[in-house]
């Protein structure tokens, strides 16, 4: 953390987005996390993504639970909505918020502890229901906030700072998401912003549950020799499988792609994601293929990254349920309430 706030002074040539804002206008308060925490880097990537997508700050809702990772919504887009919920309960609070106002863009930031331990039950149901949100797990293999106990994502054999190596099988959020039918599944690394920013942009634009599992080293409790979630280990073992280029609505695909490697996928608002396959044999639209590829590579000790699976067709939860698209706060009172007479009738049915 720092004692002085980040000065307001900025580079005069900072790029501006369509709203005339600079990335600095999307900042929050100065981080109070440990210096060098991967989570701060993810925050910076989120700021870039939201800035580049020209999202109006008041149309964004930041949701989180408890943990160092869950603190981070305070550090981006100060002038948006936010809800810092109870440990592991962010998915249900977001489900409710989403029902009340479907016009906002929802970004949930969680940790491996928050999502895979105490909040595992909530996490899997949000996926199953295809809740329309961008769900970021800042995955560091430990409970950072409570001083570095192993979390459910710790790999077998990973060494703690003090004590015995982990012997429990890890929960891999990407495998869980694939198994439960998530419609946008990605993995990245806090130290690879070039890959991460477009993945977050895609996740924010995707309609349905979009998971971005980000390896985000805990510099204080899990960045030592022998840790499998350190900066060094991640850099050594991670591989890009499919990169994603985000192309905004109505824009042309300009980049030149190698024959057979590019695969454009259109999103509901007309924007496109061009999947750039590093491994040409990989098919990011086949759940089965993604699943087996993932298994193989994980067994080989690789950390595979990129947009691993995408399904643009499945309906999101509130669409399935036929809930109103008008934010409840904008509905006239008689539309929100059936009236005394109608209520009486309904109640009488149960008498």
């Amino acid at each position: 953390m720092s004692y002085i706030a980040k000065p307001k002074v900025a580079h005069p040539n900072l790029p501006r987005n369509k709203l005339g804002l600079t990335a600095r206008d999307y900042e929050g308060t100065v981080s109070t996390l440990c210096a060098g925490c991967g989570h701060d880097s993810v925050t910076a990537a989120i700021i870039q993504a939201v800035f580049q997508l020209n999202i109006e700050p008041h149309m964004l809702a930041k949701m989180s639970g408890i943990g160092c990772s869950s603190k981070t919504p305070a550090y981006f887009v100060s002038s948006s909505h936010g809800f810092n919920s109870v440990h592991g309960r962010m998915p249900s609070v977001t489900t409710g918020a989403n029902a009340a106002n479907r016009s906002l863009t929802y970004i949930g930031v969680s940790g491996d502890g928050d999502s895979l331990s105490i909040g595992a039950g909530q996490f899997v149901h949000a996926i199953r229901r295809n809740l329309n949100m961008c769900y970021i797990i800042e995955n560091n293999g430990v409970y950072g906030l409570t001083k570095g106990q192993f979390s459910a994502s710790a790999d077998v054999g990973s060494k703690p700072k003090k004590g015995e190596p982990n012997e429990m099988e890890p929960i891999d959020p990407v495998s869980v998401a694939l198994a439960l039918g998530a419609t946008y599944v990605a993995r990245s690394f806090s130290g690879d912003r070039e890959q991460l920013v477009p993945l977050i942009k895609g996740a924010l634009t995707h309609k349905g549950f979009a998971l971005v599992d980000v390896i985000s080293p805990c510099v204080t409790f899990n960045d030592h020799e022998g840790s499998t979630k350190s900066y060094k280990h991640t850099r050594q073992f991670y591989h890009h499988v499919v990169d994603a280029d985000f192309v905004p609505p109505a824009a042309e695909i300009k980049a030149a792609y190698e024959e057979g490697s590019a695969m454009p996928v259109e999103l509901h608002d007309g924007s496109k994601i061009v999947l750039r396959k590093v491994d040409k044999a990989y098919d990011p639209t086949s759940r089965a293929a993604a699943f087996s590829y993932l298994r193989d590579r994980v067994n080989a000790g690789e950390i595979i990254t990129g947009l691993l699976y995408i399904d643009g067709l499945r309906k999101e939860m509130h669409e399935v349920m036929g809930n109103t698209t008008t934010p409840l706060c904008q509905l006239p009172l008689d539309g929100l309430h059936p009236g005394a007479a109608e209520l009486k009738k309904i109640i009488s049915r149960y008498r």
């Binding site: 002074v9 060098g36 510099v219």
Partner: protein, 601 residues
């Protein structure tokens, strides 16, 4: 790019924009911090080391540091560096005991011709080393143009007296009313070295019809001198000043104090081409001086032997696509009535008293041929400095020349090689005091530049010597010091410690850091977080980083030295270290020279 060599003193020196721009390399951020702590005496001494005349320069310095100040790039207006210098001079405690003292005679005699700031600087540097210094001055007073031309309402005589006194009191022999008429005769007196600090004493003339038909046409620098020495104490009501440099500004403002009430400054070119400093123009215009552009003098209008006006050609300029103007076309003529005209169109060097067979060579503009490093002319043992060397400049340049000439004169007298000079050095020291604590005020203060309070417009014309600028108040000083960005507190990077967590990149308020693949300079400049378009500012490039072999690149251009990169760095790869540039003076050459002889090298 190759990793930046930060052991080269030039690298960090250049980051301290003001100090780098100052001809005498005054350590500005250091003295501003001392002022911030209320240590005015220390700030004065720090200034005096390099610029010798803090009280004078704190009022009238040409301040090349201010346009260079980083704050001007970060926002619009520079730190009021010059004004703060004056605060140190005005509010210092008694520092006399801390001044250098004259040393016991070393048996060498040097002559300094002219008692301007250039010669005085040489005296200041050589007397402590034991040289017997004699200054020959044509006038009855010391100070050169600072005394005779810079008006008292800008530079009070008591400030001059005090700072000149500090030097004379070291035991300098001063021969006033002693014009040197012959260099040959002086050389015959057997001095071990001679310094020529006689300035550029000849005001340029304007040879147009009517020039010699009236007593009311004056040469600016001569007229200012005659006002300063009280030979002239009045002027007509309507005065035209020809030229729009700093001399013109002093002439118009002096006229107003001698009784003129309609003063016009006549410029041949548009405003962008004015030579006067922006602040001098502002101060003149505040006094209701009118500045007319695109008027080219044609002739003086004389009726019955009396000057009644001046004819001007009206010029129109065309601008080309590069924004340059052409030579102009005459579109008409206009007579502007006046009682006096003052010509302020520049100065020339003149050395009628230097015989041309002494081996001192001159160029086509009557300027001596002088070596820019050693300040020695084509005859060994004769040195030039200040306006006499390369034509009219300003006080701080004269001081810088003086320091260099003093080094050379010392080496010359000691039989050392003049070009074998001590190099600049740099000391780096960490400023970290604790977890989030730095030895300096690192928080960016968005306060706007403070404005100098002035004596009331009616009051100031009552006498010639009412100093217009009042100096900063305590409140203003406290606010202005916080505007300085402490550019000498450098960001120093240790590549081997970096884990590439990006913390510094993300916290940097002015986006000056990037981690990326290495490339050549042009390529790197284009690929930074914000492209580095200011080519005058360097890129600081690290060695390959341990984990990915990419490089850390810092664009020095807009760094506000807030220290946040160092605060956010988990491994201490960034540190904030004060760079203290070691600038050698004659005294350093003297102590070091002894060491050299002792070791026999």
């Amino acid at each position: 790019m190759k990793p930046t060599d930060t052991s080269n003193p030039g690298y960090f020196h250049k980051v301290v924009d003001c100090q780098f721009a100052c001809p005498a390399h005054t350590d500005v951020p250091e003295y501003i911090r001392l002022i911030a702590q209320g240590r005015f005496g220390d700030a004065y001494i720090e200034n005096r080391k390099s610029n010798v005349f803090p009280g004078i320069l704190g009022r009238v310095c040409d301040r090349p540091c201010e346009p260079a100040c980083r704050r001007r790039r970060v926002e619009e207006r520079p730190v009021a560096i010059c004004r703060l210098k004056r605060v140190a001079a005005d509010h210092k405690n008694d520092i006399v005991d801390r001044l250098p003292k004259g040393g016991p005679s070393n048996g060498k005699k040097v002559a300094l011709i002219g008692a301007g700031c250039a010669s005085l600087t040489v005296a200041n540097d050589l007397r402590p080393l034991g040289y017997d210094v004699t200054i020959f001055e044509a006038h009855a007073t010391m100070g050169g143009l600072m005394r005779s031309n810079i008006p008292q309402f800008r530079l009070p005589p008591k400030v001059l007296d005090e700072e000149i006194g500090y030097i004379v009191d070291m035991g300098v022999e001063v021969k006033l009313n002693h014009r040197i008429d012959s260099m040959r005769t002086l050389l015959d007196e057997g001095f071990d070295a001679v310094f020529v600090g006689t300035g550029a004493p000849r005001g340029k003339n304007l040879e147009i019809p009517g020039r010699y038909d009236s007593k009311n046409i004056h040469i600016g620098i001569d007229w200012l001198e005659s006002v300063a020495f009280e030979h002239q104490n009045s002027i007509g009501k309507r005065v035209l000043i020809i030229g729009v440099g700093n001399t013109a500004m002093d002439c118009c403002r002096t006229s107003l104090r001698l009784g003129a009430n309609d003063v016009k400054v006549m410029a041949r070119k548009p405003r962008e081409y004015f030579k006067a400093s922006a602040w001098e123009l502002e101060d003149a215009e505040e006094e209701n001086v009118e500045i007319l552009v695109n008027h080219s003098p044609k002739d003086f209008v004389i009726e019955k032997g009396k000057l009644v006006g001046m004819t001007f050609e009206l010029i129109e300029y065309k601008t080309d696509d590069k924004g340059r103007i052409d030579r102009g076309t005459v579109t008409g003529e206009k007579v502007i009535p006046c009682d006096d005209v003052i010509l302020a169109i520049g100065q020339d060097n003149a050395f009628p008293w230097i015989e041309r067979d002494l081996g001192i060579e001159f160029n086509e503009w009557e300027c001596p041929i002088v070596d820019e490093t050693t300040m020695m002319c084509s005859r060994d043992g004769i040195f030039f400095g200040g306006d006499s060397a390369f034509g009219p400049k300003n006080i701080i340049w004269a001081v810088a020349h003086g320091h260099e000439a003093a080094i050379s004169m010392h080496k010359y007298c000691q039989g050392e090689n003049l070009t074998d000079r001590l190099p600049f050095g740099v000391n780096l020291s960490s400023q970290k005091m604790g977890m989030h604590e730095w030895s300096y005020s690192n928080d960016y203060d968005p306060t706007a530049r403070r404005l100098m309070p002035h004596v009331d417009l009616k009051q100031r014309f009552k006498k010639l010597d009412i100093e217009v600028e009042l100096g900063f108040t305590l409140e203003q000083t406290l606010q202005e010091v916080e505007r300085c960005l402490n550019c000498d507190i450098q960001t120093v990077f240790a590549a081997e410690l970096c884990i590439e967590c990006d913390a510094c990149l993300d916290i940097c308020p002015v986006s000056c850091l990037t981690i990326t693949e290495n490339g050549d300079e042009a390529d790197l400049r284009a690929r930074l977080a914000v492209p580095a378009l200011n080519l005058a500012q360097d890129l600081y490039v690290s060695a390959g980083l341990p984990q990915t072999a990419r490089v850390m690149v810092k664009d020095e251009d807009l760094c506000v030295h807030c220290g946040l990169c160092a605060e956010r760095c988990p491994t201490g790869a960034w540190d904030m270290q004060k760079s203290h540039v070691l600038i050698p003076y004659a005294v350093d050459e003297a102590t070091c020279g002894k060491r050299k002889t002792a070791t026999g090298s």
